[in-house]
């Protein structure tokens, strides 16, 4: 059945001044992979919390689609347990849950079965008819990457995702990472997706961009007069971006063997964070204004020459060690991992951005599994004062560091030197901190809440555009290519680091060679 065109509606004058001045239009969200972990731990809890905060339209339905043969009631029960455990707004409010759960539905089917998509279409029409929904749809692909193209093709064949037309209901598709495994596959996937969908309908999700501190980075830079004038190579010595995890492969050895940390963390999360930290002020704070500037940064990433490769790219694997007081095995001993694997669990990179603003400023990125603590941060290391007045005491004066903590404990800290009380001119580093938890006293919303709401509102600012994905893969794929050549040449000896340490010595030496050291996040 063709979706019904909604009647034109007049603006709602009573929204003036209320917390949410824009509420999405009534819609149905179809979640492919609804019986999976992401739906239970993140998506449904996020939708419930949005409902609880009255940020979703009063008429909103969720239709889960998955291989598992369960009925609506079983799906609701499973999602209730997920929301009880993971929703930000807990404990569940009985009245809110009851209204929310009433509009949760489930449809069993295979992702490559055209008949299943016909049944999905009929079920959607039935739900929309019963709830008076106007036919707006968001399709969330929480499925393995290999299913992205078949699902989108099936959506097209079932006429479930028509291209946007004024006055017609919308159809949007959210695609989870990874978007491709290299440049060729990303391009191929973009091509397949664009055969069915307009780019404006595609929302490539990177949950890091939904985090409050990542968004605050833009506010911090562009809403404060004092930082942006310093945000360049005249004042900044170097930048460190860290994405550290304590977890290992957590039973996903098979997946991680194919991915590695460069694909899993750097190509998407850390390069997105880097592009926000390094971009020029956008002309407007609209989706394409911001994404155009991020793209320029990604295109300006200098390719690492072969001669400097070993000095600018360090990869390693974790060896056995200790995390949180318990012994953990080496990567090569994890289930599903090849005993001779060359997949990296740690990577450190020295990156240059070829632009006027950043000429000569190295960006050091590192990401790893089984590091001592979970922490993601950007640390802006400023240059030393041009002349130090304080003689031998100057040894204790350290350059200023502005650290932007993305997770956990979201906040910003500025380190500077201060005179120690007393007759002597002794200098000690002190820290000025802003933390979300203590300054605002509220827990920031979950990244998925913000991103799902933005998609429903049609705002793509915090989603990744096709050209951004291809630009980041262009840069990352050259590293993979070099590693593949090394492996083919029989060079399979990766440096190792004991689990529970901050990475291999080679990574420390990379910075030491430049007279610098990694900051402890």
């Amino acid at each position: 059945m063709e979706p019904r065109a909604p009647a034109p509606t007049l603006p709602n004058p009573l929204r003036e001044g209320l917390v949410a001045e824009r509420i999405p239009e009534p819609a149905t969200m179809v979640i492919f992979g609804a019986s999976g972990d992401l739906a239970r731990r993140k998506l449904l809890p996020a939708l419930y919390s949005l409902t609880r905060d009255r940020l979703l339209p009063s008429r909103f339905a969720v239709l889960g689609f998955g291989r598992q043969a369960i009925d609506d009631e079983a799906f609701r029960e499973e999602m209730r347990r997920g929301c009880e455990e993971f929703a930000r707004r807990r404990p569940l409010d009985a009245a809110t849950w009851s209204g929310f759960a009433r509009n949760l539905f489930y449809q069993q089917g295979a992702y490559d079965d055209p008949a299943a998509f016909q049944r999905l279409s009929a079920r959607l029409a039935e739900i929309e008819q019963a709830l008076g929904l106007p036919g707006n749809r968001v399709f969330y692909l929480s499925t393995p990457p290999s299913t992205f193209a078949p699902v989108i093709r099936s959506l097209g064949q079932a006429r479930l995702a028509p291209r946007p037309e004024p006055g017609k209901p919308f159809a949007r598709v959210i695609i989870e990472k990874p978007f491709g495994i290299d440049l060729e596959t990303a391009r191929a996937l973009n091509h397949q997706v664009h055969e069915i969908l307009d780019e404006r309908q595609i929302y490539r999700i990177d949950h890091y961009l939904g985090k409050e501190t990542v968004q605050n980075l833009l506010v911090f830079r562009f809403a404060n007069g004092i930082f942006e004038p310093l945000w360049n190579n005249h004042f900044i010595d170097h930048v460190q971006i860290t994405g550290a995890e304590t977890v290992g492969v957590e039973g996903r050895g098979g997946y991680f063997e194919q991915a590695g940390i460069l694909r899993d963390m750097v190509q998407n999360h850390l390069l997105q964070v880097l592009s926000l930290a390094a971009m020029e002020p956008p002309v407007t704070f609209e989706a394409d204004g911001v994404r155009d500037e991020k793209l320029k940064v990604l295109k300006a990433l200098r390719h690492i020459p072969s001669s400097d490769f070993d000095r600018q790219v360090i990869r390693a694997q974790y060896a056995a060690g200790s995390i949180g007081g318990r012994a953990v095995p080496a990567y090569r001993s994890e289930p599903g991992v090849d005993a001779h694997s060359t997949t990296e669990t740690y990577v450190a990179l020295k990156i240059f951005i070829d632009s006027w603003r950043w000429a000569g400023v190295p960006f050091y990125l590192r990401s790893g599994k089984r590091l001592p603590k979970r922490a993601t941060e950007i640390a802006i290391h400023f240059k030393e004062a041009p002349h130090l007045l304080f003689g031998r005491r100057a040894e204790t004066i350290r350059p200023n560091v502005l650290s932007i903590r993305i997770q956990p404990d979201e906040g910003i800290a500025l380190n500077f030197g201060s005179k120690l009380p007393g007759p002597a001119m002794e200098v000690a580093p002190v820290s000025m901190e802003f933390r979300y938890g203590t300054s605002f006293g509220v827990e920031p919303p979950e990244a998925y809440e913000r991103l799902l709401l933005d998609c429903l509102l049609g705002d793509g600012t915090l989603f990744t555009r096709a050209d951004e994905v291809e630009a980041s893969w262009t840069w990352v794929s050259r590293i993979h290519k070099r590693w593949a050549e090394e492996t083919a040449a029989g060079d399979t000896n990766l440096p190792t680091y004991p689990a529970g340490t901050w990475g291999p010595e080679e990574a420390d030496r990379m910075l030491a060679a430049d007279g610098r050291a990694w900051r402890l996040p």
Partner: protein, 378 residues
Amino acid sequence: MSEAERARANFERFARGEPIAVEVGEIERELGSLWQQASQAGGSVVSRAVLWNLVVPTRGQAGLEKTKALCDALAPVVPVRAIALCIDDASGGSALTATIDSNVVSQPGGGRVVCCEEISLVGPPGTEAHFGAIVRALQVPGVRTATLWMDAAMPSALLARELLPATRRLIVDTASCGRPIQLRDLEALATRAYPRPVADLGWLRLESFRLLFAGLFDPPVGGGPLRHASRLTVRYRAGGDVSALLAVAWLGLLLDWKPTRAAETSDGGLRFDFERDDQGQVQAFLSPSGAACDRSAILAIELVNGRDEYAVIRTAVDQAEVRLPIAPPRTVKLDAASDAELVVAALGPRGRDPLFARSLTYAARLWSLEPRSAGSRR
């Protein structure tokens, strides 16, 4: 007791959050000294945090206790330097006395603390003449100052002459207006405070109902039915006239209704007649009830447009039923916030809602239409 012993005892009481009597002129020095001791005693740096100077004038010991409880509840959420100014009619002496106490908030795990402080000044009637100068001296520099003006028993000259010049945000509570005529006093106060934002805890209490009612007219319904509204009913808990007036004022203002007439109704409520911008007529009824309610005092808002009804009706203290013609009724949660939570909201962006001042003016205008009949609540 030696000076050192006294200082030690004071510090221990301060660390426990107990009030310590200090000389009025020595407040800042004593606070500095006590926090310094706290740093030395704890072996790590103590972070004194303050996002607002919060001035709270109040009358009597009961008011002071209430103020202190409010500040204790605020501390974990918004660190403030609270300055309580109390006129105590039962005070024996003739001079002001001062106490200071700490609010220390530990983070989970106990590793980090945020510390802020409360300063209480108490004196007999007449000592309020000193309050302005003391507040100016005690404001943490570079930090905004809000005045929480909720005690109708306080002399308004204190606010107008002494506190407003130092205030960046004024917070009031229309729920404490015993009679609707006080809306006009509040309107005058808001005018005097301009351009400082005036936040109202009563207005913030209405927000839950306003959100639900506004939600009825989100797409696909849209604002169309509002244009041809013919009847509005606001049911409220008896005594909550001010809240009900503000709710009607909110709708009248945003829907551009012009009030033309007022009359009393047989149930002890009021009826207002409005003219819509298309010259159509709207009748609004304010209907009191004895039903249970939270401090927002609103029990239901019902709007009729021809044969269609759009309504949010409280079914329990924390629940409401939402009704609109195109969908079955549904039950939703009604949020109720404590006074401390409302003060936090009032210190944030929600405390700068210009719609409140406009609604207050409109409500005062409605009240001025009320018939001067016997038994009037003026």
